[in-house]
């Protein structure tokens, strides 16, 4: 693959085709565990790992498995990757494993994973498939962490609480009380807050996209020096 297509993949995973903000895949864990940054980060890491493993494996076996049985095989691979992740997390990050609870096994049915396996990994060579899994995972994880941070900040006035669950003793001091609240802004932590904040993030992304588009259009239509006449039909800002 050329470097331009890698740039394309990066742009797709992080922005243009972001799994959480554009494809709207895997919303169940996205909404459920993002009440704090540490939970979001834990689930993001687990999802990223599973995505990379499944994309890599699917790409490796793409010539062996026929179209008719590809789905059962993919699901088997994904389920195995999730089980392995769950065991590892239980062994090395037990508290976080307890917090993520049911959402860890639910990664199996996260549509992003099967979606990328079927739409990309089975049609592409190993390096590209691996990179796609990685960058899609990062794109999903970034939204997850952003959502977690916003909700934690609105709901508790603090950021990065309980980081020791993920990074071990010593990370307790990472907690940063940004402002003090007498009454927590409960809605942010409760499920409706997840929907609201996600909605605002999607709106923000669309707003940025359309303003970029408009600027590009304006630039393209701007009179070029030396040209005789230019008809301006679009909006000029």
């Amino acid at each position: 693959m050329s470097s331009t297509s890698y740039r394309q993949l990066t742009l797709n995973g992080l922005w243009k085709n972001n799994p959480a903000l554009v494809q709207l895949l895997g919303l169940c864990p996205l909404l459920a565990v993002t009440a704090s940054t540490v939970n979001a980060l834990g689930l993001a890491a687990a999802t990223l790992f599973v995505l990379v493993v499944s994309n890599t494996t699917v790409s490796l076996i793409r010539s062996v498995v026929s179209d008719t049985i590809r789905l059962p095989v993919f699901v088997m691979i994904i389920a195995a990757a999730v089980t392995v992740t769950e065991l590892l997390m239980q062994a090395y990050s037990y508290e976080l494993y307890q917090i993520l609870g049911i959402f860890l096994p639910l990664i199996t049915t996260n549509c992003i994973i099967l979606g990328r396996a079927d739409a990309f990994a089975r049609k592409n060579a190993l390096p590209a498939a691996l990179y796609d899994g990685f960058i899609m995972g990062v794109g999903f994880g970034a939204v997850l962490v952003l959502l977690g941070a916003i909700r934690e900040l609105l709901g508790t006035g603090a950021l990065f609480a309980d980081m020791q669950l993920l990074f071990g003793a010593g990370a307790e001091s990472w907690r940063w009380q940004v402002f003090n609240v007498d009454y927590p802004f409960l809605v942010a932590i409760l499920p409706p807050g997840a929907f609201l904040v996600t909605g605002f993030l999607i709106a923000l992304k669309n707003q940025i996209d359309s303003s970029i588009e408009q600027r590009a259009k304006a630039q393209a239509e701007a009179p070029v020096a030396g040209s005789k006449r230019v008809r301006v039909t679009g909006t000029v800002s």
Binding site: A35, I61, V64, V65, S66, T68, I69, P72, V73, M76, I77, A79, A80, T83, V84, L87, L88, Q90, A91, Y92, Y94, E95, Q98, G155, T156, D162, Y183, P184, L186, I189, L190
Partner: protein
């Protein structure tokens, strides 16, 4: 019989992948088993040691378990759970009882109640709940130290009517915006103390007594 061959091939490929994934899972399982057992035990032991700190006893509390039958009225537990004995020498200096408050704001609140031989509370910890974040979840020690108010209390301190939230004439604080959750925990603790008193003979029975 082309279709038969095709089924055979698909079946073989599927079986092959089932075998490969099983090996991967089995291998990880074996590799992490000791570590997982260790973590589960450590998490359990840490909670017990918070109620009875190491200097109060000389046994491994986490190993000194007894069964508490399901539906034990005063404890409110729904399924069979474990209690723990805390010993010093030959004396049982305390027990840790499983207790469930069924009248939480949002489902059951499961707790551990540590009771000393003299009937006083060594400590209460909520181990599982689904109370409202920011309001009811202050019964969790990670969110608030409200639950430490039970330490040293007993059925005589306060008297029966005092075992309630302040708003309803009790001695325990309620939280801003939440009465149901703290009341559920207070009452569950009181009932656990009553259970300990009623069953003191069997709970605090020492080796010498039983011999």
């Amino acid at each position: 019989m082309k279709w038969l061959a095709s089924i055979g091939l698909s079946g073989t490929v599927l079986a092959l992948f089932a075998a490969i994934t099983s090996v991967a899972i089995g291998w990880t399982y074996l590799g992490t088993k000791t570590q997982i057992d260790f973590e589960v035990r450590r998490a359990e032991a840490r909670q017990l040691l918070e109620i009875f700190p190491p200097e109060t006893h000389d046994n491994e509390i986490v190993d000194d378990v007894f069964e508490v039958a399901a539906e034990t009225a005063l404890l409110g537990i729904r399924e069979r759970r474990q209690g723990y004995r805390v010993r010093r020498g030959n004396t049982v200096v305390g027990v840790i009882l499983p207790a469930t408050a069924r009248d939480g704001y949002s489902g059951d609140i499961r707790a551990l109640v540590g009771v000393r031989r003299d009937g006083s509370v060594a400590g209460v910890r909520v181990v599982a709940h689904r109370e409202t974040p920011g309001l009811g979840d202050k019964v969790d020690l990670r969110k608030s130290d409200w639950i430490l108010d039970f330490n040293e209390r007993s059925l005589a301190n306060p008297a029966l009517s005092g075992w309630n939230v302040a708003k309803e004439g009790g001695v325990f604080d309620q939280f801003t915006g939440a009465t149901v959750t703290p009341r559920a925990v207070i009452l569950a603790t009181r009932r656990a103390l009553e259970y300990a008193t009623l069953n003191a003979a069997s709970l605090f029975e020492t080796e010498a007594d039983s011999a």
